[in-house]
């Protein structure tokens, strides 16, 4: 009989090994799934995980999709560590795109050198403003941020939809719901020629480093970690809960907003009805698989980006729906959660108790 037993101290080996275990679990499930769907699993794996990144252009695409995932993942990870359940990074991303895109449209055909910096700033502020709503409602009215941030995702998408259908629609756009394309001054420059990857990935990696310093070396980072691990201890120590919530949401709003503006000022180049295939939600998984640790999040974002590329490749190469990406993402998170159990518990073989008690020793008989 196997039994779960709490470890005396959490296993640090398992906390690193568990994302790897989860990835293996996901791959095995994928193997079975491809088999069931009548595809050759080896070929499918090649098509899904290797071929997309076998060219420079492919690497560029990988980094391109890594950018928003990493940015959102960093912000979310900091929040989750502090027990702030912001699941609306998608909405903050959308608002960042709207704000940044709005600035771009205002500059129009201008060649101003201020256009791009102002767009990025507007994107960051737009994301923060959107995240300020749940922060205010949670700190002032005790309102659960999970539901509020999620509702704001739907609202932000409707705002975007209204803008590109209405006031910001390109008059020469053949009635497509999209804005005018941004000019050169409003577009981020390409990092590696022959690819579409922009300077956004450099910003994102730089921010990962900043986030690492913040969470490991600063007292503010420590306070947020305490708030997540033991809220009562944080109150006892005098760490303001409200300040932690605000910091967590503002950071995530800023990074998600930046992610949004990087998308519209980068590969998309205009505002349109859909600007993210769910990066903000996938970033929840990125944060988790990265152990809520900034460096781990970098790897989590790369993996998740690969899943997106693989999904697109599967659609084109195998005729499978690209929704397979979402399936793999969900599986990954499930496996991770299950594997995480072994950080605090271990399996122990125990002998059934009944054996001992059903056969009483003779001396007990006489003693009675």
């Amino acid at each position: 009989m196997l039994k779960l037993e709490r470890r005396a101290t959490p296993s640090s080996i398992m906390s690193v090994a568990s994302p790897l275990l989860a990835a293996v679990g996901m791959l095995i499930t994928g193997f079975v799934l491809f088999k069931v769907l009548g595809k050759d699993p080896v070929e499918a794996f090649y098509l899904f995980f290797v071929k997309p990144v076998s060219t420079t252009y492919g690497i560029g695409e990988l980094l391109l999709k890594t950018t928003p995932l990493l940015l959102c993942g960093l912000g979310l990870a900091l929040g989750f560590r502090a027990n702030v359940w912001n699941i609306g990074a998608e909405g903050q991303l959308t608002m960042g795109a709207i704000a940044g895109g709005g600035v771009a449209l205002w500059f129009g055909d201008s060649e101003s050198a201020f256009a791009l910096p102002l767009m990025l700033l507007a994107g960051v502020l737009g994301g923060m403003a959107w995240a300020a709503i749940p922060a205010f409602l949670r700190t002032r009215f005790n309102t659960n941020e999970i539901l509020v941030t999620l509702m704001l995702v739907y609202i932000s998408q409707l705002v975007l939809s209204w803008l590109v259908h209405g006031p910001w629609r390109d008059p020469q756009g053949l009635n497509y719901p999209q804005s005018q394309g941004f000019g050169d001054a409003e577009t981020m420059s390409i990092l590696i020629s022959g690819t579409r990857v922009t300077w956004g990935i450099v910003y994102a990696l730089g921010l990962a480093l900043v986030a690492w310093i913040f969470s490991q070396k600063t007292f503010a980072g420590f306070r947020m970690q305490v708030a997540g691990l033991a809220p009562a201890a944080a109150a006892y120590a005098g760490f303001s809960e409200k300040r932690n919530i605000w910091i967590a949401l503002m950071i995530c709003g800023a990074t998600a907003g930046l992610a949004g503006v990087c998308e519209v000022a980068g590969p998309i180049g205009r505002l349109q009805q859909q600007i993210s295939p769910g990066y903000g939600f996938a970033a929840i998984i990125v944060a988790w698989i990265g152990r809520l640790h900034p460096i781990g999040v970098v790897f989590g974002a790369l993996l998740m980006s690969l899943l997106y590329l693989g999904g697109e490749a599967a659609q084109m190469g195998m005729g499978l729906p690209s929704a397979i990406t979402g399936l793999f993402q969900g599986l990954l998170l499930f496996y991770l959660l299950a594997a995480d159990l072994f950080i605090t518990f271990r399996l122990k073989r125990v002998a059934p108790v009944e054996v001992n008690t059903l056969k009483p020793p003779v001396r007990a008989e006489t003693a009675a």
Binding site: T9, T218, F219, A230, Y236, S240, E354
Partner: protein, 526 residues
């Protein structure tokens, strides 16, 4: 055994060689005991000796790894509490097993194996509770009841099943001294009717007053058996801790200037089931220890959070070192010179999965561990190493995580940390609750040393003996109100006990409280 008066009766319960191991500790090692019908048998031992684990195995909550249980001459494997109840075993838990949002009858109905119509059950409850002098209203919600009343519900719940064996786990820790005497009456009456009682406690006086026989546990093993009324506190203590009970000495000392002054503090509890503070006034001076006694749930938690700054109040109601502090948060009060040790160690006083060094940073940021927002790990390390050394904290070093320490060692670390932050005013809640005798002694002495250095100390505790030993002055909190303070030498356990039921002072609103107390006494006599 002959002196116990049960020699002619067949044992009701015989435990032989009971052993239970947990990952980090052997809770019970080869424990044997036997109890006869009508016998009140004490299981005596200090905190962590394995008393509760043993009782849980008898009640089927956990299973032994080895050993046998014989019930009325038959070997039994008790797999679940429901089976224990069917066999005739009832248990009153130390931390009550009641649901606060449900009524008395709902709580009792949940523990019954067969459904009973509400009205019938209610009348049974009333009947049994009156018969044994434990009056309760079956339709009352549990959260509206005092802890003493809740204990009655637990006992009545057991009695309804006409138990042959009743297990009482530290039952007097929630009672006033007067209520203890009433409980003893009930227990003696039950025993006279033939019910066996296992009475778990670490209080020597009580055991000598109530119990016929005793099994003493130390470190999970039986360290002796005794007829308590033939023993002295000293001889029992030797069996329990393997040495003499050390006593604290409190040298008389002149208290100096006021360090903490609370004036007419009234504060509504944010917890709907909590106790609001009503018109609390107190002063603590440099070089004295003020002890606050009271039955748990009478506003101690609320007083603690108001004094620590976790809940804010009007500035002028709390003065710290002469400065208005009611509106200061905990960090700001620490900056003025306050430190505090909360009742709840794991999760409030310390962050369970963090190392001791990080837990030093929790409250020690001002001691150079943080400069311009950046953490300095070396300062954290040095500080926590000093605490570990000076307070003899048994652990694997400053990188051990808090949750890996035993209750006593973690408490030593927390008290040590708060002491070494060089406070001018220190507040301590339940300093030795659930702590072994050695650690308790060390902690009490540390508080007295601090007092002798001129620190003002406020101790909130439910252990009257402890408060009498270490306080310069004593006050009682009851239903959110605070009694006047007295010197321990000028009062008695009885007077403090009366105060604990809310009977003190002479203002108008006291009449209701004293009426209640009268009712309780009257009920007890019925």
């Amino acid at each position: 055994m002959d002196q116990s008066g049960f020699a002619d009766l067949k044992p009701r319960l015989v435990l032989t060689g009971i052993t239970k191991r947990y990952p980090s500790v052997v809770a019970n090692d080869d424990v044997s005991l036997s109890i006869r019908p009508g016998e009140i048998h004490a299981v005596l031992g200090e905190n962590g000796a394995g008393k509760s684990t043993l009782m849980k195995m008898i009640y089927g909550v956990t299973k032994p790894d080895a050993g046998t249980i014989m019930w009325n001459g038959q070997y039994e494997t008790i797999a679940a509490p429901a089976q224990a109840r069917r066999m005739g075993i009832g248990m009153v838990f130390q931390h009550f097993s009641l649901f606060e949002t449900l009524t008395v009858w709902e709580n009792i109905a949940l523990a019954l194996d067969e459904p009973v119509p509400t009205a019938k059950l209610a009348s049974q409850i009333t009947e049994v509770s009156e018969k044994y002098g434990l009056p309760i209203d079956p339709y009352r919600l549990v959260h509206s009841m005092s802890v003493g009343e809740r204990q009655r519900v637990e006992i009545v719940r057991c009695l309804l099943q006409e138990p042959k064996l009743l297990i009482m786990d530290e039952p007097t820790s929630v009672l006033t001294p007067q209520a203890v005497l009433i409980l003893f009456k009930t227990l003696r009456r039950l025993a006279a009717e033939g019910c066996s009682i296992l009475y778990i406690s670490h209080k020597l006086d009580e055991i000598r007053a109530l119990c016929d026989t005793a099994t003493v546990l130390r470190g999970g093993r039986v360290s002796g058996t005794a007829i308590p009324r033939n023993e002295t506190n000293e001889s029992l203590a030797r069996m329990m801790i393997g040495g003499e009970l050390a006593e604290c000495r409190l040298a008389p000392r002149e208290a100096k200037e006021e360090r903490l002054k609370v004036e007419r503090l009234s504060l509504t509890s944010p917890d709907p089931f909590g106790t609001s503070l009503k018109d609390v006034s107190l002063t603590v001076r440099s070089g004295e220890i003020l002890g606050i006694a009271g039955v748990s749930g009478n506003g101690q938690k609320e007083l603690m959070t108001a004094l620590s700054g976790e809940r804010l109040s009007p500035a002028s109601m709390i003065k710290l070192l002469g400065q208005p502090a009611g509106n200061l948060n905990p960090a700001q009060r620490r900056a003025v010179g306050l430190t505090f040790v909360p009742e709840e160690r794991l999760g409030r006083g310390a962050v369970p999965p963090m190392s001791l060094a990080q837990n030093a940073l929790l409250t020690g940021a001002r001691k150079g561990m943080v400069q311009r927002g950046i953490i300095h790990p070396s300062v954290m390390k040095t500080f926590s190493k000093n605490v570990i050394e000076r307070f003899k904290v048994k652990c694997g070093g400053d990188q051990s995580v808090a949750s890996s320490l035993s209750g006593g060692n973690l408490q030593k670390f927390i008290v040590g940390r708060e002491t070494m932050l060089q406070p001018r005013m220190m507040i301590v809640a339940q300093p030795t609750w659930g702590v072994d005798v050695g650690a308790a002694q060390l902690i009490r002495q540390a508080l007295i040393d601090l007092r002798d250095q001129g620190v003002a100390i406020l101790v909130i505790s439910e252990e009257l003996d402890e408060l009498f030993a270490i306080s310069d002055r004593l006050a009682v909190i009851a239903d959110g109100r605070l009694s006047p303070s007295v010197k321990p030498a000028e009062t008695s356990i009885e007077q403090i006990g009366t105060w604990m039921s809310g009977k003190f002072g002479d203002r108008a609103d006291d009449r209701a409280a004293s009426a209640n107390a009268h009712l309780e006494t009257a009920n007890a006599q019925a």
